[in-house]
């Protein structure tokens, strides 16, 4: 979409003109964040992209301040977090914002992903945009996992032990390789302060990798343009509105509403999304009765435990994320938006239900009934991608999709005016 690069930017100052002839940063930003045409019918689910950018920046800012006070060593880590809570000015606030912020980041990411799945935002020409998104999700998970190890409480320590140990399952393919990988990750023969130290280093590095990936994600988005609730692209000027002030003003509302939710947890429920066990210092000699990962990993943890073989479980767990990469090609429907897919809609909500159910089951001990249902929902999780997406796309007769965004908007407003003529003055 070459039309998107159009810019009405006109530098008005001498310095602005001088700069524009040498490095047109202002022109670039003006084209991408002021003139950029955004569909005129985006709903509030589309504000989560901006919310996610905010989450990443907030995590980086609070994280940098925390790193000024944090001591990444097996002996000092737990104490230093407590000193941040108690002795650093507003340390309790920074620490709560960072810890709660991780959960909020994932809530926003899951909304964003399900929005993409519902409206078919992964379909051509947005495959690369979608795949970059999946990579962002994976890097986010790695960052969050290592971040949770840093307070060096019991759940930190045992979470790291359980998850890093998963790689030892490679031993059943290449004997010795898994063990080697695990020892290489640990920096020794067990999880120690050495492991913590390297996780801290990577936890500081990966957010900047994320920032780079986000730039690519936004770049890809601005090349192909945004999808819309009807699954239609901006094709004519009347389909779109300038990003500023339209999208920016709506994004601002979404972001502040989200901040209300964020701050409710950060100020009134700072420990609700964590584990009480993580207020006990890491102790290699005492295993907690239930080792549970953070809530945002629970669906994948349930899939891991649903498979009877260790290697199989590990493959299924990573496969559950990796399969997202193939979604643009697994979905065979000609229609993007689930709005116009009367049959697929049912399966979409069943998929959402399966993910939530897996999350709940992941928090439960691996006992008979729970494992049984985890298997049922794991089966559907994969069946949704491998069976439902290709087959429903072929057999389903979609509803009639409007010809353009403009047509749909005008028809909707005409319909509303006809239905309630008194309302419109």
């Amino acid at each position: 979409m070459s039309g998107i690069s159009y810019s009405s930017y006109k530098p008005t100052t001498k310095v602005g003109k001088w700069m524009d002839e040498r490095l047109p940063v202002g022109r670039m930003f003006h084209a991408q964040f002021v003139d950029f045409p955004t569909p005129r019918n985006l709903n509030y689910w589309w504000t989560f992209g901006g919310i996610l950018s905010f989450c990443l920046m907030a995590q980086i800012v609070t994280g940098i301040v925390l790193a000024m006070h944090y001591q990444p060593s097996g002996e000092m880590a737990f104490d230093s977090v407590e000193r941040i809570r108690r002795d650093v000015n507003f340390g309790w606030l920074i620490r709560n914002l960072h810890a709660v912020g991780a959960s909020m980041f994932f809530i926003a990411a899951y909304v964003h992903i399900f929005r993409g799945l519902y409206y078919g935002s992964y379909k051509a020409p947005r495959e690369i945009l979608w795949i970059i998104g999946v990579i962002i999700f994976i890097v986010m998970m790695a960052t969050a996992f290592m971040g949770y190890s840093l307070p060096w409480g019991q759940m930190s320590f045992w979470g790291v032990t359980v998850i890093t140990n998963l790689f030892s399952s490679i031993d059943s393919i290449v004997p010795g390789l898994g063990t080697t990988v695990v020892e290489w990750l640990w920096g020794g023969y067990s999880v120690t302060g050495v492991t913590l130290n390297r996780f801290f280093s990577l936890h500081y590095l990966l957010p900047f990798v994320l920032a780079g990936l986000v730039v690519l994600h936004v770049w890809a988005l601005h090349v192909v343009g945004q999808n819309s609730p009807m699954g239609l692209d901006v094709k004519t000027p009347s389909d779109g509105v300038p990003f500023t002030p339209y999208a920016t003003s709506k994004d601002a509302v979404g972001m502040f509403a989200f901040l209300l939710f964020f701050c409710w947890f950060a100020f009134f429920l700072p420990d609700y999304l964590g584990h009480a066990d993580n207020y006990v210092e890491a102790n290699p000699l005492v295993t907690p009765p239930h080792i549970v990962p953070e809530w945002y990993f629970l669906p994948f943890y349930a899939i891991l435990r649903a498979i009877p073989s260790k290697l199989g479980g590990v493959i299924a767990m990573f496969g559950a994320i990796a399969i997202l990469v193939l979604v643009p090609w697994l979905d065979t429907s000609k229609v993007r938006s689930t709005k116009y897919r009367p049959l697929y809609r049912w399966f979409f909500w069943l998929f959402v239900f399966s993910c939530v159910a897996l999350g709940w089951l992941g928090s439960k001990p691996a006992e008979a009934e729970y494992v049984f249902w985890a298997r049922v929902f794991t089966f559907y999780y994969f069946a949704h991608f491998i069976v439902v997406m290709p087959l429903v796309g072929w057999f389903e007769k979609p509803l009639k999709v409007p010809g353009s965004i403009t047509e749909a908007v005008l028809a909707k407003n005409k319909g509303a005016a006809a239905a309630a003529p008194a309302a419109k003055s």
Partner: protein, 303 residues
């Protein structure tokens, strides 16, 4: 309403119908969950208590923290330390707020000394604590504590309230509702509820239950057998100052010392919630203003 809009309305409705239908079907085929909810090993549900610091507006009760400290000092210090709290913290706002002079006197009369420092000859010394020092317990390290306690380790109590919780055993179909209620009411007092239940949970073992040597039967403790002897005594509670106007009972002692330990594990709670409301108010007003701005901007076009 055009035909397209009607179909869209229906599409949303269908989504909900699916969700409800699936939930209904699940309710019919998942009877195990209810059985599981009741099948907890302890057999005694831990009751939630009323705390002055509970919910999203609660704040510590200064008088209660002072009484709680008194119980802590007279009972808990025999075995436990409170190393993340310093004597000066007892004078700070949001805590028991004892007068500075009382803190100095308290630190100087503390039964345990600060060790690990050197004199100017390089010899290790023990010295009396000052206001800036940690509220240490009787043991210099865990090995010494275990040796003195027959193998059991009395944990440091600085974080005990944050480090404990109540397991939720709600079945799957109502679990989300309990979670929602807790989020909306700002329930964060599971640790305090647990500790109160533990301190008041010593009973004679029921018939047929053998309590191990040096162990005590407790209804709140996981597995019901606890190495800590009952710290509070029903017939001889810690007596409060007459001017406090509070009758000393085992339950009152337990309630007060739990509040004190809740403060020890979360000393910035008062500030946190007060600031929280200012932040919420700011965000709420800004969100409304931004929404009005957005509406004004979008009124220029049909959307």
């Amino acid at each position: 309403m055009g035909p397209m809009q009607r179909s869209m309305k229906r599409s949303w409705l269908n989504g909900w119908v699916v969700a409800i239908a699936v939930a209904g079907a699940m309710a019919a085929v998942l009877p195990f969950s209810a059985a599981n909810a009741a099948g907890d090993s302890a057999g005694h549900a831990i009751e939630r208590q009323e705390w002055s610091f509970g919910g999203f507006t609660g704040q510590y009760d200064q008088a209660q923290l002072q009484r709680g400290f008194q119980v802590y000092q007279q009972v808990c210090t025999a075995c436990h330390g409170l190393k993340r709290v310093r004597f000066r913290n007892l004078a700070e706002p949001g805590g028991p707020m004892f007068p500075e002079a009382a803190i100095k006197a308290l630190a100087a009369s503390w039964p345990y000394q600060i060790s690990g420092e050197l004199d100017d000859q390089g010899n290790p010394i023990d010295r009396l604590p000052g206001p800036a020092d940690q509220m240490v317990g009787p043991y210099k390290n865990d090995v010494q504590a275990r040796a003195a306690q027959g193998g059991a380790l009395p944990p440091d109590l600085s974080l005990i309230v944050k480090a404990r919780t109540i397991e939720t055993h709600a079945p799957w179909y109502s679990h989300w509702f309990h979670m929602l209620v807790d989020v909306v009411t700002g329930y964060q007092e599971a640790g305090a509820d647990y500790l109160y239940a533990l301190l008041t949970g010593y009973h004679d073992a029921p018939a047929g239950v053998t309590v191990g040597d040096g162990m005590y039967y407790n209804t709140a403790f996981h597995g019901n057998q606890l190495a800590m002897p009952p710290p509070l005594i029903k017939d001889a509670p810690v007596e409060y100052q007459p001017e406090a106007g509070v009758k000393a009972t085992l339950e009152q002692n337990a309630r007060d010392v739990t509040a004190f330990l809740a403060w020890a594990s979360d000393p910035t709670l008062d500030t946190r919630k007060r600031l929280g409301w200012q932040v919420m108010l700011y965000l709420l007003i800004t969100t409304v203003l931004l929404y009005l701005v957005k509406r004004k901007i979008w009124s220029r076009i049909e959307h």
